[in-house]
């Protein structure tokens, strides 16, 4: 059974009596947020139109800003021709509301509505996006404009900044191209920040000396991006919405698909600056946005940052975790070649989804996932409905860095620990859409 068929059958099954208790009554009360999924001709630059699918006719979808712990109701109407689903990424919510058909959330049939209701937690920068399969159709799933920021406000926030700016990175019009190792991967015609190519959207308006908190999300289906801001320093204060133990300054930031970074920038370079991709050919596709001092005009300024290798370790505590896990789960990732023009399939411990092993978790136990990447690709690995603590990167023990997406570079290993404290089916996958669509997924279940 392929994944698409599995989803269709799962969606059909979920309308049955077995899952009735999870289905909210519809509609009893007005929702807090309404999202409508529909086709959109998005003008990313004058006369450059991308035909896509989006929420509420805009890219990104509306910012959902909600207090932690306060119940929220989100109604989603699917006006497309295919079943859809809305995943709330990074939230500790029930499987039935998480927005993954593999976990048991119902699909939303074309023309139908679904009500998601849950208590948002934990506080921090989360996001929402579609969670369907694209397969070979690069006009679906996370290749589209179906994404938006979801900020869960903490009960108290220091607010050590003057302005807060949410920005979303995305790539458009994907096509397959050969990578360096003969496998195929997705390449893209255009890149945008907040749905507009560099120079064609409204600039971010700042004042000299302001401390601006950038909340950055890479919503690309498969591309990792690097950002720099014309000589400014980013002080990284949070990753994937969770405060880092050691906030540090850097001139360039790396964001893999689905990763988020909160970074404070003190605007000390007057003029019009480019916040953009560090790699020229990607910046030329449009991946950038102007940052303009209110009183300044002139030619946009780009300053090449020093070449940077991203390393999670300086942002974490150098102390190893104090608690040893109750169980260690090794997960080995490999690819299977299907020809130089075909996309590889992916395996976890030798099996591709839906044939991957299901791991049984016991509530309250602490687990260590050993990521063993035996492939020539980097993988942004994502665990649903839980936050993990990164405990080893490139052979170095560390602690205190809490994330829900971790990049494991090609031919390297990493380890993360998490506590099984949110019963229900839990999906684990690579957030590269082509990888997850071709086998790189597995389920954890609670006993």
């Amino acid at each position: 059974m392929n994944r698409r068929r599995f989803i269709a059958q799962a969606g059909a099954a979920l309308t049955g009596a077995a899952f009735t208790p999870f289905l909210p009554a519809w509609p009893q009360t007005p929702p807090d947020v309404s999202l409508e999924i529909a086709s959109l001709a998005l003008e990313i630059a004058p006369r450059k139109i991308v035909h896509t699918v989006a929420y509420n006719g805009r890219v990104p979808g509306p910012l959902i800003r909600w207090p932690e712990g306060k119940p929220i109701v989100i109604d989603v109407l699917n006006r497309t021709a295919i079943p859809e689903i809305l995943h709330s990424h990074g939230l500790w919510i029930p499987s039935e509301m998480d927005g993954s058909s593999e976990e048991g959330t119902p699909m939303i049939a074309p023309g139908e509505k679904f009500r998601y209701s849950f208590i948002p937690r934990p506080a921090g920068f989360r996001w929402y996006h579609t969670h369907i399969s694209a397969g070979h159709d690069f006009k679906r799933a996370t290749y589209t404009g179906e994404f938006g920021c979801f900020y869960i406000e903490p009960k108290s926030e220091p607010g050590a900044y003057d302005q807060e700016v949410f920005l979303t990175l995305h790539d458009w019009n994907a096509y397959t191209s050969a990578s360096g190792d003969s496998s195929m991967e997705a390449s893209y015609e255009y890149g945008t920040i907040d749905g507009r190519m560099l120079g064609f959207g409204d600039p971010i308006r700042v004042r000299e000396g302001q401390r601006v908190l950038f909340r950055l999300l890479n919503a690309s289906a498969s591309l990792t991006h690097w950002l720099a801001l014309a000589g400014h320093e980013f002080t990284v204060v949070a990753m994937d919405g969770n405060p880092v133990p050691n906030p540090r300054a850097t001139r360039a930031i790396r964001l893999a698909p689905a990763e988020r970074i909160d970074a404070v920038v003190t605007m000390n370079q007057p003029g019009v600056c480019i916040l953009g991709e560090t790699r020229e050919q990607l910046r030329k596709t449009g991946m950038g946005i102007l940052v303009q001092d209110h009183n300044q005009q002139g030619k946009p300024k780009w300053v090449e940052p020093p070449e940077t290798i991203w390393d999670y370790r300086p942002f974490a505590s150098a102390r190893p975790v104090s608690r040893e896990p109750d169980e260690i789960i090794p997960l080995r990732f490999e690819s299977k070649f299907h020809g130089q023009g075909a996309l590889d399939t992916w395996t976890i411990n030798g099996k591709s989804y839906p044939n991957t092993d299901e791991i049984t978790l016991r509530e309250g136990r602490r687990y260590r996932l050993q990521f063993i990447n035996r492939s020539t690709d980097d993988h942004p690995l994502h665990l649903h409905r839980h936050t993990f603590e990164v405990t080893k990167v490139s052979g170095t023990p560390l602690s205190g860095l809490n994330k829900d997406v971790l990049v494991v570079p090609a031919n390297e290993t990493a380890e993360v620990d998490f506590t099984a404290d949110n019963p229900g089916a839990t999906l684990f996958h690579c957030h590269n859409q082509t990888h997850m669509d071709f086998g790189f997924m597995m389920l954890f279940r609670y006993s």
Partner: protein, 252 residues
């Protein structure tokens, strides 16, 4: 070829069984060893430029420079989503008369290719304009001159298609056949006996993203073709940008 990437290839050809006599001042090919250095630089996702340095070695003659060619190539960018790859390569250059007739030539090569699963095919319709040919001996009769300009050194545009078909059992190697030919002048192809028809069973190894290796042995099927050639190509990619893989400046 990716932008800011240089591919350096060493082509080694050895003619096991070829011509054994000097013909129209051209040296016999049998037991000739040709070493060609090919440099290919990627410009952007739709163009590249190549440069050849041809040499020949034969016992008693030492290593000799044969000539140089330059080869720009443009292609339909992958982002246009054409089902078949289409590119146009053109090659211009000089080769010494002892090894080549014509000496100055200009080639145009429209190329179609496609990957279907593990299979890959390409067809290359090489057309060569012989800009300068070595004149026939002065004592040739008109009939001999006519034969010379027909079979040996046509003055017009000649045609010599080539093709490749490979199958890739893994991402680390493929195998298949390559076909090379020379039909003669457009509209006036020479008889099959004088045509060049050569088939190479080949193996391509992709031992790392930085290296590629090709082995082949070619059988000539006509009297006008060297009967047996063995070849090897070793290629190494160099990233001009000198960026570390995965860094903020690297696209790898």
């Amino acid at each position: 070829m990716a932008p800011k990437t240089l591919l350096v290839e060493l082509h080694s050809n050895f003619t096991v069984e070829g011509s054994t006599t000097t013909q129209f001042e051209m040296l016999p090919t049998q037991h000739q060893e040709h070493e060609t250095i090919e440099l290919t630089e990627g410009i952007n996702d739709w163009s590249e430029i190549g440069f050849y340095i041809f040499t020949a070695e034969k016992s008693g003659n030492g290593v000799q420079w044969v000539g140089d060619h330059i080869r720009p190539r443009v292609r339909i960018p992958p982002r246009w989503h054409w089902p078949v790859g289409v590119s146009l390569s053109t090659e211009f250059g000089y080769a010494r008369a002892a090894f080549s007739n014509p000496t100055w030539s200009w080639q145009i090569m429209p190329i179609l290719d496609q990957t279907v699963g593990r299979w890959y095919w390409s067809v290359n319709g090489t057309m060569v304009w012989d800009i300068h040919v070595v004149p026939p001996p002065a004592d040739f009769t008109p009939a001999q001159k006519h034969a010379y300009y027909t079979f040996v050194a046509p003055k017009g545009v000649t045609f010599g298609p080539a093709a490749t078909l490979t199958y890739a059992p893994s991402k680390y190697f493929n195998f298949g056949v390559e076909y090379y030919s020379y039909y003669g002048q457009w509209g006036n192809f020479v008889p099959l006996h004088y045509q060049q028809q050569q088939v190479f069973p080949v193996v391509n190894l992709f031992v790392s993203p930085k290296w590629e290796i090709n082995f082949g042995a070619g059988w000539g099927a006509t009297a006008g073709t060297d009967h047996l050639i063995v070849k090897c190509i070793v290629g190494r990619y160099f990233d001009w940008s000198h960026h570390r893989v995965g860094s903020s400046e690297s696209t790898q």
